[in-house]
């Protein structure tokens, strides 16, 4: 039995009035939804709270799943909408929480710790982008750089997604440069 079949069976049972069957869906998809939420808030407890809210929303709207798209796509799209709303409401509270200290960008040997901090600062910089670019970046990398699937999850054409990714990189460029990273690193084209 494939994962899709298992999902379809669980959905049918839930719609037939067995809420316990939703547990199978939660167990199968918890890692994905919690990690997607993590990319938007970078706080473990908040990510789980967001994922729980998304699962509840999916439980309520399970009847609207028509099977026109893959269950994972539908699930991720609903979760993404939930996270967007949550970010819209609470974003100012999250940003800056547990933020790493800025690194010294002076030339010299970099330790693994410094590189880690630098990476974390870049990831947090993504969260400060306007919503459309932030969502594009987060979903694109979450989906393993698959533009087709990312566009479906975001509900936008693939070309629009590529344009947003390009624009997001342009917006990140000055912040990236301020960390002492070469500007040429941002020239890579989106496939």
């Amino acid at each position: 039995m494939t994962s899709d079949d298992q999902d379809a069976a669980a959905v049918a049972r839930v719609i037939a009035g067995d809420p316990g069957a939703f547990g199978d869906i939660v167990r199968r998809w918890q890692h994905r939804l919690v990690n997607l939420a993590w990319r938007f808030c970078r706080h473990h407890a908040t990510a789980e709270d967001m994922a729980q809210e998304a699962f509840l929303k999916e439980y309520r709207s399970l009847g609207s799943f028509r099977g026109e798209s893959q269950f994972s796509t539908w699930l991720t799209a609903v979760a993404l909408n939930t996270y967007r709303s949550r970010l819209h409401r609470e974003r100012p509270l999250w940003l800056g929480r547990e933020a790493p200290e800025p690194v010294d960008t002076a030339p010299g040997p970099q330790t693994a710790l410094e590189q880690g901090q630098r990476a974390e600062i870049v990831r947090r910089a993504v969260l400060t982008l306007p919503a459309r670019y932030r969502n594009a970046i987060c979903v694109y990398y979450f989906e393993g750089r698959d533009t087709g699937e990312s566009a479906r999850v975001l509900g936008i054409p693939e070309g629009t997604l590529k344009a947003r990714l390009h624009r997001a990189r342009e917006l990140l460029r000055p912040r990236f440069a301020s960390l002492g990273l070469p500007l040429s690193d941002l020239q890579t084209e989106i496939p």
Binding site: N35, A47, E48, A51, Q52, F55, Y59, P182, Q187
Partner: protein, 112 residues
Amino acid sequence: MPDELDEILRSEETIEPSPDFVSSVMRAVYRESTELPPLRFPWSRFGIGVAACGLMTGSASALWSRVEVSAPHVLIHLASLNSVVPQLAYATATILIALVLLSLPRLTGRDA
């Protein structure tokens, strides 16, 4: 040429959900499934009420303009009802008491 931004975003660390995450979600799901659905605003009744009010207002305006009575005339007619005020009061009181008695089971929390 290596793309460091691409590398950083691609090599995002993953987190593991807490061991009690599934049970926490399912508790919320069970709570949700046992709760009564929220009451929806009765738009249909609201619409009927608004339409009825509009109809009554229109009818009253039409009648008023057709009968062509002035306000003093109306007051004189109302004054003539003084003689039946006690009977109207009795009738109103009876209706109110009947309504209260009918509502008692609901007010005390017991089915009729």
